[in-house]
Symmetry: C2
Subunit: 147 residues, 2 copies
């Protein structure tokens, strides 16, 4: 088993699929420290009726609790959709080491406001890892919703 | 007793002062629905070791729980410091009715990226309510920290 970006993104996609089954917008995330998954979460905004319950925020809170540190500069977050402004702002405060995301989000994603304006200046960004798989899952969710 | 913006901001400042006493960056917030405070919180990022534990996010989560609604379009949030990008992004998702804040935050505040880019388009914004009191509290906190 190779623990590369694709492997961890598959784990994030597994979380997104759990969200899908529960009627939540299917976004999932895993947080990795020293090649180990220390937190994983899926979007729970409907269940919790809380707009802040995005997969990224839940992972960040859980991971900070595990490490007993609010800074995650040694960690990599894998998320199946480009983070929104709220989540990117949270990742900036956490000084996240690396952000890896799958599908772009042109409407709500942070990058429309310029990467340097929101994320921490030392956070590395990798995108388009299993983007098509994530996009397909999101499309089938919204298609089902409109039926 | 007149329940105006100054009254509610004083209540938010009381929360900020609690944060100050606890060694947290002194920012407080209260969430108001139908002239009633339904949530109040102060910054707890140090205690919880969680960058997302800003007063605004805690208020929003608590208020949504109280109303059993993730949308807060009938609510007014009073906060003693201009919200950061993370918090403003959360307020956008919640479609907050009105945001009232005290002191500006030129370094980290959301407005440097343009109001329309982050907050929900229907969210009204009122600023500079007890701004000096809040600025003074923040200054004395950081002065104490540097000693």
């Amino acid at each position: 088993m190779i623990f590369d970006d694709t492997y961890y993104m598959q784990r994030a996609l597994l979380q997104a699929k759990i969200a899908f089954e529960l009627g939540e917008i299917p976004v999932g995330a895993v947080l990795v420290s020293n090649n180990q998954i220390i937190a994983q979460a899926h979007n729970q905004t409907e269940k919790l009726q809380d707009v802040s319950a995005h997969a990224e925020i839940l992972c960040l809170t859980s991971g900070s609790n595990y490490l007993n540190s609010k800074y995650l500069n040694q960690c990599t977050l894998y998320v199946t959709l480009e983070p929104c402004v709220m989540c990117a702002g949270a990742l900036a405060w956490a000084q996240l080491g690396t952000l890896v995301y799958a599908a772009p989000d042109t409407a709500r994603g942070f990058s429309r406001l310029g990467k340097g304006n929101i994320l921490h200046k030392r956070t590395k960004v990798v995108k388009d890892v299993l983007a098509q798989e994530s996009t397909d899952l999101l499309h089938s969710f919204f298609k089902k919703l409109r039926k």
